[in-house]
C-alpha cells in the first residue's frame, strides 16, 4: 500500500462516521421541511440530545446496566428530541409563530438548558466509552472499500439505513404523501380530509427524534465527551444540507458526506504538517455552507412551496 493510498484510505474511513450526526439531523429536518416547517431549533435539539445521551454512559460506568447505557442514552436523546419537537410544533403550528425567529429561540433554549445542566451536574471534561466498531462479516473483507464502509460502530449503519428508510417513508407510504402534501398544498390536503396541523406535529416530532439522536451520536460516538460548544453549528449546517440535497434523502446523504470529508481532509492537512492558521481550518465548514447555499439557488424551486408558512384554515390566500 503506497503512502498516498494510505492517506486517502484514512480520510475516507474517518469521513464516513463523521457524517453520521449531520446525516441524522438533516434527514430529520427534511421531514420538518417537507411538511412545511422550517426548524432552526435543530441546533438546540442536538445540544439537548448530546447532553442527555451522554448521561447514562457517564453515570453507569460500571454496574449491571452498563452494557445498555448507550442504548439508554440514544433512547433518552430521542425522547427529548420528540418533546422539543412538540414544543416547537406548539409554537409554530398551533400559535403560528414566525418560524425563523422561533427556531432561534429553541436553539438558545436547548443550548442554554444543556449548558446549565452540564455545568451544574458534571462541570469538567470527562470522557465516556464509545461504541466499539462492528465489522460486518464478509463485506468488511472487501479490499479497500470494506474498511471504509463496513467497519464502523453500529450507529453508522443505522444512520445510513435511515437514508433509504426515510425515502421510503416519504415517497411510498400514505403518511409520507400526507407530509409532502402538508408542505406543498396544505389547502388541497385539508380539503381531502388530511389534518394538516396534525401531520406537521408528527413530522416535527419525528424530526426532533432524529436530531436528538444525531446529537447523542456526537457526544457518545464521535467526541466521546460533552462540552457546551460540542454541537458548534452542526444543527444549522444540517438545515443547510436539506437545501443542498434538494429535499431528497439521497442528496442529503451526499451533502453530509461532502461536509465530513472536507472536515477530515482539513484534519489530514494539519496532521500532515502543512501549516495554515488553525482558525481558518475551523472556519472551513461554515464557509462551505455559505458557498453551498449560494450555489443551490435554483433548488428552492423544487422545495416545498409552503415552507415556512403556517397553515390557517380560516384564512383565504
Amino acid at each position: 500500500m503506497s503512502e498516498t493510498h494510505g492517506i486517502v484510505y484514512n480520510i475516507l474511513s474517518l469521513g464516513v462516521p463523521f457524517s453520521v450526526a449531520l446525516l441524522l439531523a438533516s434527514l430529520g429536518e427534511n421531514f420538518n421541511q417537507r411538511a412545511g416547517v422550517f426548524n432552526l431549533g435543530c441546533e438546540g435539539i442536538m445540544c439537548m440530545g448530546a447532553f442527555l445521551g451522554f448521561l447514562p454512559p457517564y453515570f453507569l460506568k460500571a454496574g449491571p446496566w452498563a452494557p445498555y447505557a448507550h442504548l439508554m442514552g440514544f433512547t433518552i436523546a430521542m425522547a427529548a428530541g420528540v418533546l422539543l419537537g412538540l414544543l416547537f410544533a406548539l409554537v409554530t403550528v398551533t400559535f403560528r409563530a414566525e418560524q425563523g425567529i422561533a427556531g432561534i429561540g429553541l436553539q438558545m433554549l436547548g443550548w442554554g438548558v444543556a449548558g446549565t445542566l452540564f455545568r451544574h451536574f458534571i462541570g469538567g471534561v470527562t470522557g465516556v466509552e464509545g461504541l466499539t466498531a462492528w465489522a460486518i462479516p464478509g463485506l468488511s473483507r472487501i479490499p479497500f472499500l470494506g474498511g471504509i464502509l463496513f467497519n464502523h460502530n453500529p450507529m453508522v449503519y443505522v444512520a445510513f439505513a435511515m437514508v433509504p428508510a426515510s425515502w421510503y417513508i416519504l415517497f411510498k407510504t400514505p403518511w409520507g404523501l400526507k407530509v409532502r402534501a402538508a408542505g406543498t398544498a396544505p389547502r388541497a390536503a385539508d380539503s381531502m380530509g388530511i389534518n394538516v396541523n396534525r401531520v406537521r406535529y408528527q413530522a416535527l416530532m419525528l424530526g426532533g427524534a432524529l436530531a436528538g439522536l444525531g446529537g447523542a451520536y456526537l457526544s457518545l460516538c464521535q467526541a466521546k465527551m460533552f462540552a457546551d460548544d460540542l454541537v458548534a453549528g452542526r444543527g444549522f449546517i444540517a438545515v443547510a444540507l436539506v437545501y443542498f440535497g434538494r429535499w431528497s434523502p439521497l442528496g442529503i446523504m451526499g451533502g453530509a458526506l461532502l461536509f465530513s470529508l472536507a472536515q477530515t481532509l482539513q484534519l489530514a492537512i494539519q496532521v500532515g504538517g502543512i501549516k495554515f492558521p488553525y482558525e481558518f481550518a475551523v472556519m472551513l465548514p461554515y464557509v462551505l455552507v455559505i458557498l453551498v447555499l449560494s450555489l443551490a439557488r435554483k433548488a428552492r424551486m423544487r422545495g416545498p412551496s409552503h415552507l415556512g408558512i403556517p397553515y390557517n384554515r380560516e384564512m383565504r390566500y
Binding site: 432552526l40 438546540g44 414544543l87 406548539l90 409554537v91 400559535f95 403560528r96 409563530a97 414566525e98 425563523g100 425567529i101 422561533a102 427556531g103 432561534i104 429561540g105 429553541l106 436553539q107 438558545m108 433554549l109 436547548g110 443550548w111 442554554g112 438548558v113 449548558g115 446549565t116 445542566l117 455545568r119 451544574h120 451536574f121 457546551d228 458548534a232 453549528g233 444549522f236 438545515v239 443547510a240 437545501y243 492558521p277 482558525e279 481558518f280 475551523v282 472556519m283 461554515y286 464557509v287 455552507v289 455559505i290 447555499l293 449560494s294 439557488r297 428552492r300 380560516e314
Partner: protein, 373 residues
Amino acid sequence: MNKFKVAYSGAIILLAALAAAGGGALVLKAIGANPLEIYKTILTGPFTDMFGMTEILVRAVPLILVALGIAIAFRSGIINIGAEGQMLIGILAATATALHLPAAWPKWEVLPLVILAGAIGGGFWAGIAGTLRARLGVNEILSTVMLNYIAAQFYTFFLRGPMIDPGELETGSGTPQSMRLPESAILSRLVPGTRLHTGLILALVLCVVVYFFLWHTTWGFRLRAAGAEAKAARYAGIRVEGSLVTAMVLSGAFAGIAGAVEVTGVHHRAIENITSGYGFAGIVVALFGALHPAGIVPAAVFFGLLLVGADMTQRSAGVPANMILVLQGVIILSIVSAKMYLNNAYAQERAARFFGRFFAKPASDEAKTGGQA
C-alpha cells in the same frame, strides 16, 4: 371595546411572561435552586448599590444599539441573526483604526472615526448576507449564523496573530488581546468610579435618529413598505432587493457601532469574549421592544437588569451563566407565540365571546363592536 382590548392584550402579555418565567423556573428547579429566590436576586440584586445600577445601563448601551439595527432589518423584511459576528468585525475595524491614527489627534476627531470604522466593519459583514439574499436567494438566517462562526474565528485569529499586544509576546503570557487604545480613542465616563460611559448618550441619540429615519423619511418608508408587503412595494416601484441590502447593511452598521462603543467605552482594548452574547440578547430586546425605538430603550434596560442579575446569581447562588440563554430562549418563544394573538381581531372576538358568558351583558356587547372594528 377599548377596555376589553386592553384587558385582552394585558392578559396575553401576562400569560407569555408567566410561560417564560415558568420555563426558566423548571430549569432552575432541576439544578436544585429555588426559582423565586433566584428571580428575586436577578430583579432586585443590581439595585443594592450605585455600581449595580450603572452597570445595568452599561449593559443596556450595546443592547440598544444592536436592537435598533435588528429592528431596522426585521421591519424591512430581512432577519438578522448575525449581530454577534457583525459586532466582532466592527470591534476589529474600530480597534485597528484607533491604534493606527496619530496619537496626538484630539478626541473629537479620533472617536467619530473609530466609531465610523466600527459601523463600516459591521455593515460590510452584514452586507455579505444581504447581498447573498438579494442576488442568490440565500436564506439570510442561515448565512448570518454561519457568518457569526466565521467572524468569531477571524476575531481570534487577529487577536492571536496580527493584532496581539506586543507586550503580551514580550512577557510570554500570550493572552490574546490587542494593545490598549490611546487615550484619544476612549469614551469618557459619565459617573466617576463606575463603567458608565458617554456611549449611552450616543445610543439614545441614535434611537431618535432611527425613529425619524424609519417613520419620517421616504427612505425609511420604502424599507418598511418592502418589509410589510414585498409584492405591493414592488408594484409601487420600490426596488425590494436593493432595500433588503440597504436594511441589512444598516443593521450590521448598528451592531458594528455597538462593538466600537463597547471597546472604546468599557474594555479599552479588544479582548476575547468581548461581545458576551449581546448580539443574541439584542434580538430578544428588539422583539421585546416591539421593533420600535421607544420600546427598545426600556426593553434594553430590562435585559441589562437581567444580565447583571444573572451575573450576581452566578456568584452568589452558583447558577451557571448559561441560564441567561435559557431565559432568552423561552422569552423569544413566548413573544413570538403571543404575537399571533395580540393583533388578531378574530382570536380577540372569540375570547370576548367566551368570557362574555361569564360576565353577562357588557363584555359581550363590547365584543360585538370589537369584532367589526
